[in-house]
């Protein structure tokens, strides 16, 4: 399972560099250096994005870079007309760009634009516009597609077989769809959640000898994930809880390295939440009466069946689950355990959220479930393909081939 170790050095450095640069850009913006230091770190991120091409001798890296580049090109050439993309993310990005402040959205203006949402991707949008010399309706939303690369590379290096990575890209594109390029955060959340599963599974499998690199990658992935949107904190917590449980079962000990990395990854979000609360900005769902909605809907089985049916009766949930069940010994794999536990925990939270929504349940599901279910489906798809990957790699002839490839690396 120490797949991250077998990656080419250049790609590993590119992943670490990109995640570090983009996080430094955010921290610089948080400290008030939006126009100078933050834009500079963003330029470093873009340079490292190009540097990642130095790892294309690894077919997995090549495949990932081709996909990421295609998504970036598509994103540049499509209009920015998605409702949430414009009303929330691009609007916040424009406000940061115009006012040169990461906290611009916290002044209470335009309350419909979910002003409590983290401004990480909007910070990137503002930075891109600054580097390009002005705001327009095409370039800023490319931030999302650019940010996919580091997480996709982490996932790519989690596979041994290039063919299975290629197979993973099919559900990735089908699940993410237009949300991979149109300035929405949901596909990014799903990809970063899956990358977190890969990194944290590596930590669990390596046990007490957890490599420092795993911890850093996991901390950075968590930091980016939780800053994508509010709901992502639930996904990150589900992945951490699942990995902690898997680790505790194996070693009968609390995984301190994992805990430290997770807590470190939460620091930027805690800083943001502190700013939000000091400006008295509240979330519309948080302001609703959750308990009374639950009390009203929980006794009615119809609601529960309706919600669970909508969340789980999907091709990219059922098909990978079937593959995992049919694959011998797959449930013993760390990544499968972590992905399944995290998906179950996240699904439980989604169920409670929809059951307690202040809106009409049917309307809320129709307008959002295809997006909120993405992390759940993508983690299960990864688990199924990682399981097949592991089975295929155990075949004797392929093991020889793998050893030769490892020697070459």
């Amino acid at each position: 399972m120490l797949y991250l170790q077998s990656a080419t050095k250049r790609t590993r450095w590119a992943v670490l560099g990109m995640l570090s640069a983009v996080m430094l850009a955010y921290l610089a913006a948080a400290a008030g250096f939006v126009t100078t230091l933050s834009a500079g770190f963003l330029a470093v991120f873009l340079l490292l994005w190009l540097f990642a091409w130095a790892g294309i001798s690894d077919r997995r890296v090549l495949l990932t870079l081709v996909l990421a580049t295609a998504l970036v090109v598509l994103s540049v050439g499509v209009p920015s007309d998605g409702w949430d993309a414009r009303s929330i993310w691009l609007f916040h990005g424009k406000r940061i760009f115009v006012d040169a402040s990461l906290y611009s959205q916290l002044d209470g203006y335009a309350g419909w634009s979910q002003n409590d949402y983290p401004s990480f991707v909007p910070m990137m949008m503002a930075g891109l516009a600054r580097l390009a010399g002005g705001w327009n309706e095409l370039l800023p939303k490319v931030s999302g597609a650019l940010l996919l690369l580091p997480a996709l590379l982490v996932i790519a290096l989690g596979f041994r077989q290039t063919s299975l990575l290629g197979l993973f890209f099919v559900p990735l594109l089908m699940l993410g769809g237009v949300h991979l390029i149109n300035g929405y955060m949901d596909a990014l959340v799903a990809v970063y959640a899956t990358a977190s599963v890969v990194a944290v599974s590596g930590m669990v499998a390596s046990g007490r000898q957890t490599l420092f690199q795993y911890s850093v990658v996991y901390a950075l992935l968590t930091a980016v994930l939780v800053l994508l949107k509010n709901e992502a904190l639930v996904v990150a917590a589900a992945v951490f809880a699942a990995a902690s449980l898997a680790s505790f079962i194996r070693q009968r000990k609390l995984p301190m390295a994992m805990l430290s990395a997770f807590l470190l990854g939460l620091i930027p979000l805690v800083m943001w939440k502190w700013s939000v609360s000091s400006h008295n900005v509240v979330n519309d769902l948080a302001a609703s009466n959750v308990l009374s909605q639950l009390r009203e809907r929980l006794p009615n089985v119809f609601y529960s069946v309706f919600i669970l049916e909508d969340l789980l009766l999907r091709l990219w949930v059922l098909l990978p689950l079937l593959a995992i069940v049919l694959m011998r010994g797959s449930l013993k794999m760390t990544s499968v355990q972590v992905a399944l536990l995290a998906s179950s925990a996240y699904c439980a939270v989604l169920y409670i959220v929809y059951l307690s929504t202040p809106h009409d349940v049917r309307w809320h599901l129709q307008t959002s479930s295809s997006r909120t279910v993405m992390p759940l489906a993508m983690m299960i798809v990864y688990a199924a393909l990682a399981s097949i990957d592991s089975q295929v790699s155990k075949l004797p002839a392929l093991n020889v081939n793998e050893r030769i490839q490892d020697d070459v690396r």
Binding site: W135, I181, V392
Partner: protein, 139 residues
């Protein structure tokens, strides 16, 4: 001489087949995403031009309102939307976000944007009339 059985060629061929099939489906998916999202090479070429993509991304009323406001409203002055535009959530949100840093205030503003033909109230003076929207000063 009889060759020893090895699963390697079979697996390799299967792997290549899986990879090729996946790449075909992924390519088709990318094409579909581009089609649904109205990808155009012209857009991609103008990605670094300030203000590009406005016509493709916004309702015509919004782009026109931005032009009228830029020409006639002094910097820092708030503006408002007439009742029908304000009640249309799409128009309201697109106006607010696209015209930023111009701010909207239904209570304090004297400059009002309305759909053509504009306000009929005698307390309003039409400043500029566009093909879709009208900018007026209402007291």
């Amino acid at each position: 001489m009889k060759r020893a059985f090895t699963p390697f060629p079979t697996i390799s061929a299967a792997a290549w087949l899986v990879l090729l099939a996946s790449l075909c489906v992924a390519g088709w998916q990318l094409y579909t995403i581009g089609e649904i999202s109205r990808f155009s090479v012209e857009n991609a070429k103008s990605a670094f031009v300030p203000g590009a993509g406005r016509a493709e991304s916004l309702p015509r009323e919004v782009s026109q309102a931005a032009e009228l406001v830029a020409r006639n409203v002094p910097p820092g002055a708030p503006i408002r939307l007439d009742q029908s535009l304000n009640a249309d959530a799409l128009m309201q949100q697109r106006m607010w976000e696209h015209l930023y840093p111009v701010r909207f205030s239904q209570q304090d503003a004297v400059f009002e944007i309305s759909r053509n033909p504009g306000p009929s109230s005698p307390s309003c003076r039409i400043i500029e009339r566009g093909t879709h929207v009208v900018l007026a000063e209402c007291h």
